[in-house]
């Protein structure tokens, strides 16, 4: 059986098993779920080592799901999906470890939902059928709904419902676009649609392209989230258990690259100017809000709004470097922002608060924790030798190639991110000695933190491990969309 299918079936089966395990022994459920997640991670590593750099998807399975509508279960891995899948399989066991003792209520359900979420994430990152993608896209919000709603903070119900309804509103617009495409080509298969587009069998008028593009864009911009569709994000991160926040990977940006760009190359280029403006506004606005925030989780949420701005900017420069950079940032975001959430979770477990002014001088009491936090902070603000530097540099270089002014404005965001991150670090860890004991990292916490820190350095120094696979896919993507543009404009005119 195809390794990719194993990666999907394992978490799904694991989720069902964990749901069914006896509720009297939560420790057993934790161990079972963690074991399954670790096996899945091993599978993810195997996926990465067996992946050959090329522009075409690998580990492909294509079977008919609903014959009368030509819906396929068509999954595969390309250079972008690969790293997102590996990241999902890595973060799931870490999220479990991070919430090991923190989650004490309904333990089975929590761990099962994490596995279910992992299943949906792997599905999102590997679908090559529009319908299938939509299924996973929507299914992924259900575990989030419950993970926040049951184990979240004081205003958990508000946050989870807001998240759900927001996402749903975007998704249904994407669904409309998908169905419209289907009525034109009678298939949901991405590769078939793309070849129909490039052969001219499917000719979309510029107006059609624009509306279809906007339908997809609505879903991705809300999910990413891009300014001004971000208002659910701070509530989400503030209320969600930090371990759950780790798993909010950048599906929206991924969708832009996988679907919007190749399907609607002309519309994507036509709409790029205002999208880039939104992205840059998001970079600066997010950073400014992060500066003024008093809650750690909300601060990180705004910083991630700023990061998303970078990713979207990179995509819409339509340059090789910009695209590579934004994919790189998608991975980085999972590692360093994920790492921040994880460590805030560790802090919150010690103080039972996430307000910045509840902390101070933690560095005296828990030096290892503060060192780990410092490395993550520096990684997040883009220090060379650490991961974000590579991504941000690539995006800025790509932006400069497209239009130098973009790079200038985006660079302001980099400066501001240094301000709010370092200021945050200062307020949390320096200052007067804390009024209480802060235990340093224990074994379990070390286990959560170390893999992420290793990856921060690895992504920062060993870029050649990751970049070839990404470039292989993005260059293919860019070539394809570039080639088909003039042709399609002609075809549309003839139409």
């Amino acid at each position: 059986m195809n390794l990719l299918n194993v990666l999907m079936l394992l978490p799904l089966a694991g989720a069902l098993i964990t749901f069914a395990l006896p509720r009297k022994s939560p420790q057993f459920a934790r161990l079972v779920a963690l074991a399954i997640a670790l096996i899945t991670f091993a599978g993810g590593m195997a996926l990465a080592t067996n992946y050959h750099v090329s522009g075409t998807p690998q580990f492909v399975t294509d079977v008919v799901w609903v014959r009368s509508l030509d819906i396929h279960y068509h999954v595969g891995v390309d250079g972008i999906g690969l790293w997102m899948i590996v990241l999902s399989t890595l973060l799931a066991p870490l999220a479990m470890l991070a919430s090991w003792n923190v989650i004490t209520r309904r333990v089975n359900d929590f761990f099962a939902l994490i596995l279910l979420l992992e299943f949906a994430l792997v599905g999102v990152f590997s679908s090559y059928d529009l319908f299938l993608f939509y299924v996973f896209w929507e299914v992924s919000i259900v575990p989030f709904l419950f993970l926040i709603g049951i184990w979240g903070g004081e205003r958990r119900m508000y946050a989870s419902l807001k998240f759900f309804v927001y996402t749903m509103a975007g998704s249904v617009l994407m669904l409309t676009s998908m169905i419209y495409l289907y009525t034109k080509v009678r298939t949901f298969d991405l590769t078939t649609i793309l070849s129909a587009l490039s052969s001219g069998r499917l000719a979309l008028s510029p107006a059609e392209q624009t509306f279809l593009f906007l339908g997809f864009f609505a879903a991705f911009a809300i999910k990413a989230p891009l300014f001004p569709f971000h208002t659910w994000l701070p509530d989400f991160h503030e209320q969600a258990p930090p371990a759950v926040s780790m798993l909010l990977l950048k599906m929206g940006v991924f969708g832009l690259i996988r679907f919007s760009l190749p399907l609607f190359p002309v519309a994507a280029r036509d709409n790029a100017p205002w999208i880039i403006v939104l992205a840059i506004v998001g970079i600066i606005y997010g950073a400014l809000l992060a500066l003024s925030e008093t809650n750690i989780l909300r601060l990180i949420a705004y910083s991630s709004l700023s990061h998303v701005g970078f990713m979207v900017l990179g995509v819409f420069t339509f340059t090789q470097l910009g695209m590579d950079g934004s994919v790189y940032q998608m991975i980085n975001h999972g590692i360093s922002t994920g790492g921040l959430f994880l460590m805030v979770g560790l802090l919150a477990a010690r103080r039972n608060s996430t307000a910045i002014d509840a902390f101070g001088g933690v560095a005296h009491a828990a030096p290892w924790l503060s060192t780990a936090f410092l490395i993550t902070t520096l990684a997040g603000l883009g220090l060379p030798l650490l991961n974000s530097f590579v991504g941000e540099y690539l995006v800025l270089q790509g932006a400069a190639e497209a239009n130098f002014r973009y790079a200038v404005f985006a660079a302001i965001g980099v400066i501001l991110s240094a301000c709010y991150m370092l200021w945050l670090y200062q307020r949390l860890f320096y200052g007067a000695k804390p009024d209480r004991a802060y235990p340093d990292l224990d074994v379990r916490e070390w286990l959560c933190v170390v893999p992420l820190i290793i990856l921060m350095f690895w992504l920062g120094i060993g870029t050649q491990t990751f970049l070839p696979a990404i470039t292989g896919t993005t260059s293919h993507l860019l070539d394809d969309s570039r080639q088909s543009i003039p042709f399609r404009v002609e075809a549309a005119r003839a139409h």
Binding site: S68, R106, V135, E138, S160, M168, V172, L173, T176, I179
Partner: protein, 485 residues
């Protein structure tokens, strides 16, 4: 026309209705004979009759053809809906055991009314003649008027029954008036004859249009589509929950079947006249239903508004006036029946004696107190929201695909945005169950009886199967939607 005595095969084509009528009558006869209250014997007989009728319908599907001077048309379409309404009947009877014993109201009357109503619905979906459709509609409706007021001493139930009866008779009168006009114009009540007559270029468009409009009023009322939806919230709220479950599924599915048959068999040639009207009705139903449901705190009333919205989705499929639209409506009605009946039965279970606990706040902490009930209700609600891998999603997807196929882009966009709004009020219930703790005033629900558990597992299974493996039902719907040609 010389009427010859019916052949044996014609009885087979009418088999489900015959079985249901026999069992319905049997229950009426047995009612005074068995005085032992609290026994479930009536329910068991009723289930037996329904299962026999279900098998009868499956058997009848092997004998496709017309019967009784072309009054009955026993085709795949008819049998799809027969199986659907009978299955709804089975689940409702199973789900009402708990209610009937709780209210000490276990009589044969209740069950025979259900059986007669189902028989009427079977007649509706399998007749090819307006007169017989009307008779079936009346059999089904009169039984449901009584069922709505089944709890004689309950004032809200009485109010519901009276409202339902008065408005319902009024709507049927419209329908009948439409029939009489069409008979005057075309000289026939047979749908095929009407279709042939209307295909000629010399048809009197105005009169036919007026009669189609009158029938539309009657049918829109029966399916609780806007602007004739106002009765639904009061009736669903006042009637006992199992009856509300029944009203929202069985008669509605049958009325939609009639809707499809009349408007796609008899009136396709004037579709340019009626589809814009249905377009408006669909949009109004979805919007009114969903936005009114947002503010409800009574869960029965909320589900009533939600069922108006769902009628709107099916009306979208009818607006598409195509084979795919018909198939989509059929599939959706099956999915809708599963999720809505399931949700109402959970409500009936939680409501307790006298149905006192029907507020959304009464569901607080149910996820902890009764995990299985809560999980099942979650499946139904997620399906009502339209989350993938449930029947509700696939049905909705298929409906809007049919609509886009017919170039109804705005209706699709507005309809789907509507479903995003709808997510909020369904999630409120999920929120109450899982995200809020039970407080002192929250009623402690009774343990889930076995009959209710079955009544919930069946539709839950249906919801999941329709969502994950839709092919079987979908292919059958597509095949049987060909009746139009």
């Amino acid at each position: 026309m010389l009427i010859s005595p019916p052949a044996a095969v014609e009885y087979i084509r009418f088999l489900p209705e015959i079985i249901l009528s026999i069992f319905g009558t049997l229950l009426m006869v047995l009612n005074p004979l068995i005085r032992k209250h609290g026994s479930s014997i009536f329910g068991n007989i009723s289930i037996l009759g329904l299962v026999a009728a279900l098998l009868g319908a499956i058997y009848a599907d092997g004998q496709v053809g017309q019967a009784f001077s072309r009054m009955i048309v026993n085709d795949d379409f008819a049998n799809f809906f027969r199986v659907l309404v009978i299955a709804i009947g089975i689940v409702i009877v199973l789900g009402s055991y708990e209610f009937l014993s709780r209210e000490r109201a276990d009589t044969g009357e209740f069950h025979s009314l259900i059986l007669f109503s189902v028989a009427g619905q079977c007649i509706m979906v399998s007749s090819n003649d307006l007169i017989l459709i009307f008779i079936g509609l009346e059999i089904s409706s009169i039984a449901t008027y009584i069922l709505a007021g089944y709890l004689r001493d309950d004032r809200r139930a009485n109010e519901a029954a009276i409202k339902y009866f008065l408005l319902g008779s009024f709507a049927t009168a419209f329908f009948l008036y439409g029939i009489s006009l069409i008979y005057g114009t075309t000289g026939s009540t047979n749908l095929t004859d009407i279709h042939v007559f209307l295909s000629s270029p010399s048809r009197p468009l105005l009169l036919v249009g007026v009669s189609a409009a009158l029938m539309l009023v009657g049918l829109t009322f029966k399916v609780s589509g806007a602007p004739f939806q106002v009765w639904a919230p009061d009736v669903y709220q006042g009637a006992p929950s199992p009856v509300s479950a029944f009203l929202s599924a069985g008669p509605k599915a049958a009325a939609f079947a009639v809707f499809l048959r009349i408007f796609l068999t008899a009136f396709p040639s004037i579709s340019h006249q009626w589809w814009p009207v249905v377009w408006i009705s669909a949009l109004l139903s979805m919007t009114i239903g969903n936005f009114a449901a947002l503010t409800q705190s009574n869960i029965k009333r909320m589900l009533a508004y939600s069922s108006i919205a769902h009628a709107g989705y099916v009306l979208v499929a009818i607006t598409a006036h195509s084979d795919i639209g018909a198939a989509a409506a059929m599939f959706y009605l099956a999915a809708y029946a599963c999720m809505n009946v399931g949700a109402f039965i959970v409500v009936s279970h939680i409501a307790g004696k006298g149905e006192k606990h029907v507020g959304i706040s009464d569901f607080k902490g149910l996820g902890v107190r009764q995990p299985i009930t809560a999980a099942l209700l979650t499946i139904f609600l997620l399906s009502l929201v339209g989350v993938p891998l449930t029947g509700g999603f696939f049905g909705k997807f298929y409906i809007f695909q049919a609509a886009l196929q017919s170039n109804m882009i705005w209706l699709t966009v507005l309809g789907l945005l509507n479903s995003a709004v709808a997510a909020y009020y369904y999630l409120r219930i999920i929120g109450a169950m899982y995200m809020q703790e039970a407080v002192a005033s929250t009623p402690v629900p009774q343990p889930l009886p076995r009959s209710t558990r079955f009544a919930l597992l069946l539709p839950a299974l249906g919801t999941i199967i329709l969502g994950v493996f839709p092919s079987a039902v979908l292919d059958f719907a597509i095949k049987s939607a060909n009746f139009l040609k």
